[in-house]
């Protein structure tokens, strides 16, 4: 391999940076910051390739309560609030008033007054035939924590994808209760298995060994290099550990996902020398610059037998040697260690060659809510305790690393900068969404606020990364962010929180997103199916009436019929009769506790983003092997329509 050596880059940098490097002769965080500042904000020359694209998957572990993503706010009929009433009634719990506080209560609803600030504009554009629908004058509110996302939605940079989840084949309530129709996903309601279903794009494979991102990488084998001329970092980078999304069925080193940490990079803004990346400590991997302990630190022997090349070499040889007798675990461990060392050194070199710039990092440090320039800046990774989202914002820390790596993509291809990285998939995550109990009120609002802040700061950072040869564009045009979660949750309360569900609502963000809309397909039952569906022995009573306005209204968050009819529901809970019930249709895709059946396969959602990323229409069903059976209406060209393909 004859790449331009990164060590040459480093020497070049060290020459120019020498004035800042004080007496140590080495680059430190502080000196790198100075270099960045000396270059001057706005004169940043580092760019990404004009044909660069990245997908960023934000996984919300635990099962995000979709009724805390978008919430019915106002009816299409004038200023009615019946649908809101359905929501608030469904989320109530016997004897517990609406409270919206951090005080444990089983009433899970928000007041309309609270929701007013994040009510999103209603639009009435045409419905793309067959599979998407608009909100038809009805108005929804984002969860109150999503203030920045509301602004981005209003700007058209964010869209909501509603009623989406793993499917094997389309299914409605009638088919579900009568156990007819196509196959169902296996192990519904199980965290683990539904996470894997989302991430693998296969809803009926137990313990899938290949994920969506893995298949994307395999489908684009030469996007970033070739086996003879490989990139210095995998196309697949996770800041959240090993995940099914990035599993590959292939042992190609260039496809093996790389997992990176988030810790040390945050030190760039510290005036003091970072404690862990102590520049007085020599590392045995002969990284003489020793500035970035970016993946957990270079392999160091600490201050024992220091910096000894002979020792390092003995270790290095052992890692890549043959094992006798043969043992798969030894080989696996050695392979991971080898990748860790190689990529860490490449990333180190890339960041040394392209010193971090304040524009990329500062947005995570000093957060100013979108549209509110007067607000007090906040450190969003470690917000002050007085802030509503106080506590470490792990998602922000991860996205800061992602922004940094996007920025370094020019240097991490086979040769820098002639052959840059052109395609990357990132995986970041935030946990804690399993809100069965008190944590519904205690933590979900905070977690949502962390999402809001982190995505907004990432958006600002992307706006500061330039695109080679096109001053009109920034990395915003080149990056698409989308959320995933285990499942949605029950609409009704278990007395404290909500339980596991199925489909949920998600955000997609990016310059190529046709934002400012809610996307979600609908499906319906016919009158002929109803008589078979009234009751199943030994089960709760089922109710079903015909949907007389097929397709006219998305069933976003609409509760089970028995909330509408004045009937007594299971457990003896009295239901409130809703005026104008005809406006509120039964749930063709909701089960008895308000768990949504998906009306859009999660595959269709992710595959639409994959089309934008560069998977050809002809092979989209290879990358998503069950896509066309799970979502027959999928347009292999435009997917479900929320991306501007370029």
């Amino acid at each position: 391999m004859s790449k331009k050596t990164t060590s040459q880059d480093r020497r070049d940098f060290l020459k120019t940076g020498a004035a800042f490097a004080a007496t140590s002769g080495t680059a430190t965080f502080a000196t790198l910051s100075q270099v960045a500042e000396a270059a001057g904000s706005g004169t940043e020359t580092t760019e990404i390739a004009s044909d660069y694209k990245a997908l960023v998957c934000v996984f919300l572990f635990g099962g995000q309560d979709h009724s805390n993503v978008i919430i019915p706010y106002q009816d299409s009929a004038a200023s009615g609030t019946n649908e809101y009433s359905v929501y608030s009634d469904a989320r109530s719990s016997t004897g517990q008033a609406q409270n919206e506080s951090n005080n444990p209560t089983g009433n899970l609803s928000y007041s309309r007054a609270t929701l007013a600030a994040t009510a999103i504009s209603s639009t009435a554009s045409a419905v793309p035939a067959g599979f998407t629908t608009d909100v038809y004058g009805r108005q929804f509110a984002l969860h109150p924590s999503f203030s920045a996302l509301k602004a981005l939605y209003d700007q058209g940079s964010v869209a909501v994808i509603a009623n989406t989840g793993p499917l094997v084949a389309p299914i409605d309530r009638h088919e579900w209760f009568n156990r007819i129709g196509g196959l169902r996903p296996s192990s519904l309601y199980s965290h683990d298995d539904q996470q894997k279903a989302w991430m693998s794009g296969t809803a009926r494979v137990l313990n899938p060994q290949v994920g969506i991102a893995g298949r994307i990488a395999e489908a684009l084998p030469t996007a970033n290099g070739t086996p003879a001329n490989p990139p210095q970092i995998s196309m697949l980078v996770s800041t959240a550990g090993i995940n099914t999304f990035m599993l590959t069925g292939n042992n190609d080193p260039a496809l093996k996902p790389y997992q990176i940490g988030v810790g040390s990079l945050g030190r760039i803004n510290d005036t003091a020398a970072p404690a862990f990346c102590d520049t007085t400590t020599a590392y045995i991997n002969a990284n003489t610059a020793k500035a970035y302990c970016i993946n957990g630190g270079p392999i160091s022997i600490s201050s024992g037998p220091v910096g000894n090349a002979t020792m390092y070499s003995a270790f290095r040889n052992r890692v890549t040697s043959a094992y006798s007798p043969d043992n798969v675990y030894l080989k696996q461990w050695g392979g991971i260690m080898d990748q860790s060392i190689k990529t860490e050194r490449a990333v180190n070199a890339a960041l040394l060659a392209n010193p971090l710039n304040e524009d990329t990092v500062r947005t995570f440090r000093e957060y100013v809510p979108t549209g509110n320039a007067a607000a007090t800046p906040l450190d969003i990774v470690n917000p002050p305790t007085a802030d509503v989202a106080s506590g470490f914002n792990g998602l922000a820390a991860q996205l800061r690393m992602v922004a940094t790596l996007i920025r370094a993509s020019l240097a991490l291809g086979p040769t820098a900068p002639a052959q840059p990285i052109k395609r990357q998939v990132f995986f970041v995550s935030l946990g804690g969404f399993d809100t069965h109990g008190d944590e519904f009120w205690r933590s979900n609002p905070t977690l949502n606020k962390r999402i809001d802040r982190a995505l907004d700061a990432f958006w600002q950072a992307l706006g500061n990364i330039k695109v080679s040869g096109d001053p009109t564009k920034t990395a915003r045009n080149q990056v698409t962010v989308f959320t995933m979660s285990d499942f949605g949750r029950t609409l009704d309360s278990n007395g404290k929180g909500s339980d596991h569900g199925w489909a949920g609502h998600h955000f997609v963000m990016g310059g190529a997103v046709k934002g400012g809309k809610i996307y979600g397909a609908d499906h319906n039952v016919t009158a002929a199916q109803i008589p078979t569906d009234v009751s199943i022995a030994g089960q709760k009573s089922r109710y079903m009436i015909e949907d007389t306005t097929a397709g006219a209204m998305p069933r976003i968050g609409i509760p089970p019929l028995w909330y509408l009819s004045g009937n007594t529901g299971p457990g003896g809970k009295a239901r409130t009769a809703i005026p104008n019930a005809a406006n509120f249709l039964p749930l063709n895709h909701s089960l008895d506790r308000g768990e949504l059946l998906p009306s859009m396969a999660s595959d269709a959602y992710v595959a639409t983003a994959a089309r934008w990323f560069g998977i050809p229409a002809a092979t989209i069903s290879t990358v998503f092997p069950t896509l066309l059976t799970a979502h027959p209406a999928f347009d292999t060209n435009n997917g479900v329509g929320f991306m501007n393909l370029v």
Binding site: D192, N295, G297, I299, S324, I336
Partner: protein
């Protein structure tokens, strides 16, 4: 105290380090006296006149004739003994054997005791040598305690003896390897001495000795509980952060004699997960949960299951505490996970652990709802008397459904009481009128499927428990569900029986435990044998945990895989040691100890700067890793499993290596802890911190290696046996040895002191120590970074 003809060291302190050195056999007082004679003159017994003098002379740099003049001792023997034991002779713990230590020992041998006579020497700045700020034992009491325990190991290390024990041609190498392999599977790690102790048992074959050891483990009494440990550490009503629970647990794991119990309870805590990364973050409830698992580890799986169902920590973690049967939809969280993760899994299994044909699901959503209803009505066991009521709630009904052990009254002066705290560990109690009265569909299987000789799983019981009937309103109860606590409790027991008797529990739990102890990819035959032991212990009892553990640890596949497995299966035998075990093995292999008895492995779960793991700190109920995980690459291509690889990322593999490397190779500033390895995890090894704080530092003792540091191949032979179960190939051992000799040559430079009769300068002595230290720590560092250390084979 008994009279003695020789000076002795008295202290009321616990025999802390004794327990460390010989975890399953606490030596008597007589033993440590016999073992602690400071007999550096190679003559049995010690006396102040000769041994004290020799020690002081040696510490001052005298060698050869100048060392032994007038003592009738042999210089080479004295020099070898002192070098070999320099770590133990470092009585003040400042990292080196120096004049302070020698003078202290000399005084002790003369019968001096107490602060007044010892402190002038051992205290800060009071000594004549370089104790400086590095001493971890600076009071007479601390030194006495150390001498009582720390010297209770074999005093004189002989290179020849070690060659026999670990050398390639050593007569005892094979048996030592066998014992280390077994103890690596069954304990938190073992020293060479512990392996030898296992082999020294009477009773024929190794398997017979191992069987006797396992039986002995079953019968060891419980250690003091984690709960009591943190109660002693905490002053009411305050609470430490929950790291103190981990501290309690690490003390058990690192120093406890009942290694198998603690290890099994750890595995159970990774199957039935409770974590502070969730709702159960109180230090007492976490401790209570682990205590419950430990107390029930060697009972019956049904007792384990019952303990889990009724645990308030689990109740808080998975929300079935205060799960009100009157609710329209009782919380399903625990109901789902107790089935999916703690007992039967998603899919019905064959006895050999494979999925039954067609992957039939073990349960449906209706059954989850059935269990959600079946596990209702329980809340904290409120034992308060009316006098304990909060002043602002003078008429509160007791016991209260809403009471929690951290309750605080708004009225001043009514603090938490110790009896309140006990609520964190008492099983939950059932409340009247809170238990669901609905019909509850439970696991649906036939009596024929659940073949069992156990009376608890009779055909009648199995059939009766498949659906719990609706409960009519009971007389005398008003409000709520009108179900009495007694009825509710009876129903809970039936629901537990329904799970316990399910035929998939045996292979599910058996296979899972094999993966925690022996191999990530057991053969179907191995799983079948463990399933059979679960289903029937030979006496008609199902779920006997002792039978299960015997079946796992004493199976030929575990003991002698190379002789019973095909080459293909052998290549898939073994497992990546989970990070907790790599840390514990390292500490125990080298008799690591904390002088204070506090094992503060706090905040070590970061993937970047820690080990990605710590006890009771899983990121979710799915544990740190899934049992069926198979990473892409050699493992997936071989259709093997490797749970622990799920937390082995390109980040964490470096972070964990750094952590372990720092732990074994760390060297404090000059004069501090230089000879030992030590654990920097909690930052309490800082030689500039106060002596009390420094006593928390976990020090790792390399005495054996110091005795053979001139022989690099032998050092790696030793490390190969103790850390790698003999799995390091000879060629790799030779390469490692060559690297040490090249990096830190011992025949030139600082590793050589001036020839006699020149007295070495202090600088020369310092450099001499540094060179020796680099050879020892370099060797350990290399061994810790070898793949063969990470993988248990």
């Amino acid at each position: 105290m008994r009279a003695s003809s020789r000076p002795r060291l008295f202290s009321s302190s616990a025999l802390l380090a004794v327990a460390l050195a010989l975890p399953w056999a606490t030596p008597s007082t007589a033993q440590f006296l016999a073992n602690c004679p400071f007999s550096v003159d190679a003559v049995t017994g010690s006396d102040a006149a000769r041994d004290g003098l020799l020690l002081v002379r040696h510490a001052r740099g005298l060698r050869d004739a100048a060392l032994v003049t007038g003592t009738n001792a042999t210089a080479t023997a004295v020099d070898t003994n002192i070098r070999a034991n320099s770590v133990r002779l470092d009585v003040n713990g400042n990292g080196r054997f120096d004049v302070d230590d020698a003078q202290t020992i000399a005084r002790v041998l003369l019968g001096f005791r107490g602060d007044a006579q010892l402190s002038p020497i051992v205290g800060f700045g009071g000594g004549q040598g370089n104790a400086g700020s590095g001493a971890v034992r600076s009071t007479a009491a601390a030194i006495s305690a150390y001498l009582e325990g720390g010297c209770a190991t074999t005093f004189s290390v002989s290179k020849t003896a070690l060659q026999t024990k670990v050398g390639p041609a050593g007569a005892n190498r094979a048996t030592n390897v066998q014992a280390i392999r077994f103890l690596t599977q069954s304990t938190f790690g073992a020293s060479l001495a512990q392996a030898e102790a296992l082999n020294a048992r009477t009773g024929g074959t190794f398997k017979a000795k191992a069987t006797a050891w396992v039986d002995e483990q079953f019968n060891l009494p419980l250690q003091p509980t984690n709960y009591d440990y943190i109660l002693a550490r905490a002053a009411l009503p305050g609470q430490f952060g929950n790291e103190v629970t981990r501290e309690a647990w690490w003390k058990q794991a690192l120093t406890g004699p009942d290694q198998l119990r603690v290890r099994l309870a750890l595995a159970l805590s990774e199957i039935a997960v409770v974590s502070s990364n969730g709702n159960s973050s109180n230090s007492y409830e976490l401790a209570g949960y682990m205590d419950m698992l430990q107390a029930r580890s060697f009972t019956n799986f049904r007792d384990v299951l019952s303990g889990v169902v009724r645990s308030p920590a689990m109740g808080r973690y998975l929300d079935h505490i205060r799960n009100d049967g009157a609710s329209t939809n009782p919380n399903e969280n625990f109901a789902r996970e107790v089935l999916q993760l703690f007992s039967v899994g998603l899919t019905k299994l064959n006895a050999d652990g494979s999925n039954q044909a067609g992957d039939p699901p073990s349960y449906t959503e209706d059954i989850v709802k059935g269990f959600a209803n079946a596990f209702t009505g329980m809340a904290f066991d409120d034992l308060r008397t009316p006098a304990d009521r909060c002043p602002e709630l003078p008429t509160e009904t007791l016991p209260s459904w809403f009471w929690q052990p951290d309750r605080t009254c708004t009225t001043a002066g009514s603090e938490l009481k110790a009896t309140d705290l006990q609520g964190w560990r008492r099983p939950m109690r059932m409340f009247d009128n809170r238990y669901s009265n609905r019909q509850k569909p439970l696991l649906d299987y036939t009596a024929a499927e659940a073949l069992s000789a156990d009376a608890r799983c009779s055909a009648t019981a199995i059939i009766a428990n498949r659906v719990l009937p609706a409960i009519a309103a009971e007389a005398g109860f008003t409000g709520g569900t009108r179900v009495s606590a007694a009825t509710g409790n009876a129903m809970v027991e039936r629901a537990i029986d329904n799970i316990f008797c399910h035929p998939t529990v045996g292979p599910f739990i058996g296979k899972s435990l094999i993966k925690f102890f022996v191999t990530s990819t057991p053969t179907p035959g191995y799983v079948s044998r463990v399933t059979a032991a679960f289903n029937n212990n030979g006496g008609g009892v199902r779920g006997d945990m002792k039978a299960v553990m015997r079946a796992i640890l004493l199976d030929d596949e575990a003991l002698t895989p190379a002789t019973v497995l095909s080459a293909t299966d052998l290549s898939k035998f073994g497992k990546l040691k989970e990070p907790i075990l790599r840390v514990s093995q390292t500490i125990r292999a080298f008799n690591g100890y904390a002088a204070s008895g506090k094992y503060k492995l706090h905040n070590i779960n970061s993937p970047e700067f820690g080990i990605s793991q710590n006890v009771l700190q899983s990121p979710s109920v799915f544990n740190f890793f899934h049992p069926e995980f198979a990473p892409p690459g050699p493992i997936a291509m071989a259709s093997a499993n490797a749970p622990e690889f799920e937390i082995t990322t390109t980040t964490s593999i470096a972070g964990t290596a750094n952590f372990l490397g720092t732990m074994v190779a760390a060297t404090g500033p000059r004069d501090g802890l230089r000879q030992h390895g030590y654990l920097r995890a909690s930052g309490n090894c800082n030689p500039f911190s106060t002596p009390t704080v420094r006593e928390d530092c976990i020090v790792i003792d390399y005495s054996d290696l110091y005795a053979i540091l001139d022989d690099a191949p032998l050092m790696f032979d030793y490390l190969n046996v103790v850390l790698m179960g003999g799995s390091l190939p000879q060629a790799a051992r030779d390469q490692f040895a060559a690297a040490i000799d090249a990096a830190y040559p011992n025949t030139t430079g600082a590793c050589v002191l001036p020839a006699s009769p020149t007295i070495a300068t202090q600088t020369q002595l310092d450099n001499f120590d540094d060179c020796r230290r680099s050879r020892v720590k370099g060797a350990v560092w290399l061994a810790m970074h070898a793949p063969e250390f990470q993988i248990q084979q």
